[in-house]
C-alpha cells in the first residue's frame, strides 16, 4: 500500500470513529458554564450594590450637608443674642409668612405679644430656616395647612428681604445667597419638610420688607427676579464645600503582604500550578500552532505585594462608614525560567492573531524570574464596626476596587519550540476589578493620633489576561493593612 493510500484509509476510518461519552461529562461542562453565569450575576449584583451604596452615601451627604449648612450659617451669621428667632403666622393675610430675622430678644418678645394666636419659639425651626434665609429673610407661603416632611406639600415659599443692616451692606452676595436659598428650599425635600413642620408649629408674622419669590416649582422662573433684586442677607459662598470636606476623615492607607496568581476568581485555595500556561491557537491558517512542549510551564510562587494610598472616610452612622480614594498597588510573583535568547519567534497564542516576539526565555528551571505588576486603583469600601465599644473598635470592611494596569514585565508561557516565555503587554487586561475584605482594630480613638491595623484579602474578579489568551490568571493578595488618620479637630 502506498503511503498516501495508507494515510487516506486510516483517516477515513478515524473520521468515522465515535465513542459515546458518559453522562457526567456534560454535567461537568454544564456546571462549569453555570459557574460562569453565576460569576456574572455576582459581579452584576456587586456592581448594583456598589452603585446603591454610592447613591445612598451621595444622598446622605447631600441631605446632611444641607442640615449642616443651616447650622453653619446660623453660627456664622447670627449674632449670639439673635439666635432666638420667632416664626409667626399672620392671621389676616392669605399668605403665611415665616420671618427669620436677627431680631433681638426684645423684638421677638414684642412680636410674640402682638400675636393673636399661639406664640411659639422653636429653636430648631429657627435654626433650619436660618440656613436658607439666615438672619434677614422672610419666607412666605400660601395659607394652607402645613404638611409634614413625608407629604412634602410646601407649595409656595417667598423669601423677603428685611431691612436689616446686614442685608444692605453686601447686596450682590445677598442676592446670590437668596437664589441659593430659594433653590435649596425648592429642591431639598427634607429641608422643605422641616420648614413645613416648623410652619405648623409657629406663628406667622407680617413682614414689611421687599419680597423675593422662591416658590417651590416656580423657583427657576423666579430666579431672574431674585437675581435682579438680590436682597436677602445670606452668605453661602464656600460654606457648602467646606462642610462636605470637613466631614471626611482622611487617612494614609498602606499594606504589605504576599501576592500570587490563582486559576479561579474568588478562590483562596485554587492551585497556582501551570497558571501561566497559555494555550496555542487551534485555528491556524498556516496549519501550524499545534505543539508538544518539552519544558512544561513553571508554577507560580507568591511574591511580595505592597499598597499605599490616600483614603477619605465618610461616616454613615455611628458604626458604619464608607471610604474611597486612590491607591498605588504593586503585586509580584516568581517563576522559574531557562536561558535568555535574543531571537525572533512567531507565536499563535490567540484565536485570531499571530504575534512576533524578539526575545524569549527558554522553558526550564535554571533561574528565578519575578513578574511585577503596577496598578493604580480606586477602592470603594464599606466599614462596619463589629463591636460596640469605643475603647478598641473592631472594624470589618468589604469593598470593590477598579484598577488600571500601569506596567508589567510579566512573562507569558507558550508551547512553541518546546516551551518558551516571552513578554507581551497587549496580552494583559488593562482594567482590573477586585473584591477586598478585611478586619482591623482601630487605636487611639480618643487620642490625637488615630490608626488602624489588621489583615486583608483582595481577590481579582476579572482575568489578568485577555480572554483570547485562554490563561485563567487571577491576582490574589493577602496582607496586613494599616491606616493612619490625619489629625483633625472635627473628626468625631
Amino acid at each position: 500500500m502506498q503511503e498516501n493510500e495508507f494515510e487516506k484509509r486510516l483517516r477515513q476510518e478515524m473520521d468515522e470513529f465515535k465513542l459515546r461519552p458518559s453522562d457526567n461529562v456534560w454535567e461537568k461542562v454544564e456546571e462549569e458554564l453555570n459557574k460562569k453565569k453565576r460569576r456574572r450575576v455576582v459581579f452584576f449584583i456587586m456592581m448594583l450594590a456598589g452603585l446603591g451604596l454610592l447613591g445612598y452615601s451621595g444622598y446622605f451627604v447631600a441631605t446632611s450637608n444641607s442640615r449642616d449648612n443651616i447650622v453653619q450659617q446660623e453660627h456664622n451669621n447670627i449674632p449670639a443674642s439673635n439666635q432666638n428667632q420667632s416664626l409667626n403666622t399672620h392671621p389676616a393675610t392669605p399668605v403665611e409668612k415665616i420671618a427669620v430675622s436677627p431680631k433681638s430678644e426684645d423684638q421677638t418678645r414684642a412680636e410674640k405679644t402682638s400675636d393673636k394666636g399661639n406664640v411659639k419659639t422653636n429653636p430648631v425651626a429657627s435654626t433650619e430656616i436660618s440656613e436658607q434665609a439666615t438672619n434677614t429673610t422672610t419666607v412666605d407661603r400660601p395659607a394652607k395647612p402645613a404638611k409634614t416632611r413625608n407629604n412634602k406639600q410646601v407649595t409656595a415659599i417667598t423669601a423677603k428681604k428685611s431691612n436689616h443692616p446686614a442685608a444692605t451692606t453686601k447686596d450682590d452676595q445677598v442676592g446670590k445667597a437668596a437664589i441659593i436659598s430659594s433653590e435649596l428650599l425648592a429642591n431639598d425635600a427634607s429641608v422643605k419638610g422641616e420648614v413645613a413642620q416648623q410652619e405648623s408649629a409657629k406663628d406667622i408674622v407680617p413682614f414689611d420688607s421687599q419680597t423675593i419669590n422662591a416658590t417651590g416649582r416656580d423657583s427657576v422662573e423666579n430666579k431672574s427676579d431674585s437675581t435682579s433684586e438680590p436682597k436677602a442677607g445670606l452668605t453661602f459662598d464656600g460654606t457648602k464645600k467646606q462642610n462636605f470636606f470637613s466631614k471626611i476623615k482622611w487617612s494614609v492607607d498602606f499594606s504589605i503582604g504576599k501576592s500570587s496568581v490563582r486559576n479561579e476568581a474568588f478562590s483562596l485555595f485554587s492551585t497556582n500550578k501551570s497558571a501561566d500556561m497559555l494555550y496555542n491557537s487551534p485555528v491556524n491558517n498556516s496549519g501550524g500552532g499545534l505543539v508538544v512542549p518539552v519544558s512544561p510551564p513553571s508554577d507560580f510562587q507568591s511574591g511580595p505585594g505592597v499598597r499605599a494610598g490616600l483614603l477619605g472616610e465618610l461616616k454613615l452612622s455611628k458604626r458604619s462608614s464608607i471610604s474611597s480614594g486612590i491607591q498605588y498597588v504593586y503585586n509580584s510573583n516568581t517563576i522559574m525560567v531557562g536561558t535568555y535568547h535574543d531571537t525572533m519567534v512567531m507565536l499563535n497564542n490567540s484565536f485570531s492573531q499571530a504575534s512576533r516576539v524578539n526575545a524569549v526565555y527558554r522553558g526550564g528551571y535554571q533561574k528565578e524570574y519575578t513578574n511585577h505588576y503596577h496598578f493604580i486603583q480606586i477602592p470603594l469600601q464599606y466599614q462596619w464596626q463589629v463591636n460596640k465599644g469605643l475603647k478598641l473598635p473592631l472594624v470589618w470592611h468589604v469593598g470593590v476596587s477598579a484598577g488600571y494596569l500601569l506596567s508589567t514585565n510579566a512573562l507569558l508561557y507558550d508551547t512553541t519550540a518546546g516551551g518558551i516565555y516571552y513578554r507581551d503587554k497587549a496580552a494583559f487586561n488593562k482594567f482590573r476589578f477586585n473584591m477586598l475584605t478585611g478586619l482591623s482594630f482601630r487605636f487611639g480613638v480618643k487620642s490625637k493620633v488615630k490608626w488602624s491595623i489588621g489583615p486583608e484579602l483582595s481577590m481579582g474578579m476579572n482575568k489578568l489576561m485577555k480572554d483570547s489568551y485562554l490563561a485563567n490568571q487571577y491576582l490574589f493578595y493577602g496582607g496586613v493593612t494599616g491606616r493612619i488618620f490625619f489629625n483633625k479637630r472635627n473628626h468625631k
Binding site: E7, L10, F17, P21, G287, V291
Partner: protein
C-alpha cells in the same frame, strides 16, 4: 446554516442549544481525544475541558469554516496540553533522531475496525503517537510539525516512519490473529 443558528443560540446563553451542540459533536470528539490519551477517563477529561473552551470562546468562531473542524482543532490542542500537564505522559514525550527508518511500501490491508485501529495508535510510544496523529490523522506536514515542536522536519519524518512501521506490524499481527480465530471457528 443549521450550525450558525445553533452557535447564535449558544452565544445567547441558551442551555438547550448548548446541550444540542454538545450532543452533535461529543461522540466524534471523544474519538479524537481517545487517540491522544491512554484511558477513556483521560479522554473524557480532555473532552470536558475542550467543550468548556469551545463554549467560552464560541464568539471567536468566525463561521467561515466548518464548525466541526474548529471544535476538532480545539480538542486536539486541549489533548496536547493535557499530555504536557500530566507527568505520566510528559515522560514519554521524548523526541530523538535515533531511529531513521525509510517509509516502506508495505501493503497491509486495513481490515480492522476503527476502534481497534485507534487502540493500536494509542499503544504507540507517546512521542510517536503524537506525531502519527498529527501527520496521519490531522494532516499536518512534517515541516509544520517540525516548526511546531521545535524539531527538524527530518526528525518528525523519521519518528513518523518508525511509528507507521510499528503500527503496520501491529495491524498485520492483529489481522492474522483475527483470521486464525475465524479459521478456528
Amino acid at each position: 446554516m443549521e450550525h450558525q443558528k445553533l452557535v447564535k443560540d449558544c452565544l445567547k446563553g441558551k442551555s438547550q442549544a448548548q446541550r444540542e451542540l454538545y450532543e452533535l459533536f461529543a461522540q466524534t470528539m471523544l474519538g479524537v481525544c481517545y487517540r491522544y490519551t491512554r484511558s477513556v477517563r483521560d479522554a473524557e477529561d480532555v473532552l470536558q475541558e475542550g467543550f468548556i473552551k469551545v463554549f467560552h470562546h464560541l464568539k471567536q468562531y468566525k463561521q467561515e469554516g466548518e464548525l466541526g473542524a474548529w471544535i476538532r482543532r480545539i480538542m486536539v490542542n486541549t489533548a496536547l496540553n493535557y499530555l504536557k500537564r500530566n507527568r505520566r505522559y510528559q515522560e514519554e514525550m521524548f523526541f530523538t533522531e535515533e531511529y531513521l527508518h525509510p517509509v516502506t511500501d508495505d501493503d497491509p490491508v486495513i481490515r480492522l475496525q476503527a476502534k481497534e485501529l485507534a487502540d493500536l495508535i494509542r499503544q504507540l510510544p507517546q512521542g510517536y503517537q503524537v506525531i502519527f496523529n498529527l501527520h496521519a490523522v490531522e494532516g499536518f506536514t512534517h515541516v509544520e510539525i517540525g516548526e511546531m515542536l521545535g524539531i527538524s522536519d527530518g526528525t518528525s519524518r523519521s519518528q513518523y516512519s518508525r511509528a507507521r512501521n510499528l503500527l503496520i506490524t501491529w495491524i498485520e499481527n492483529s489481522v492474522e490473529k483475527k483470521n486464525s480465530s475465524y479459521a478456528g471457528k
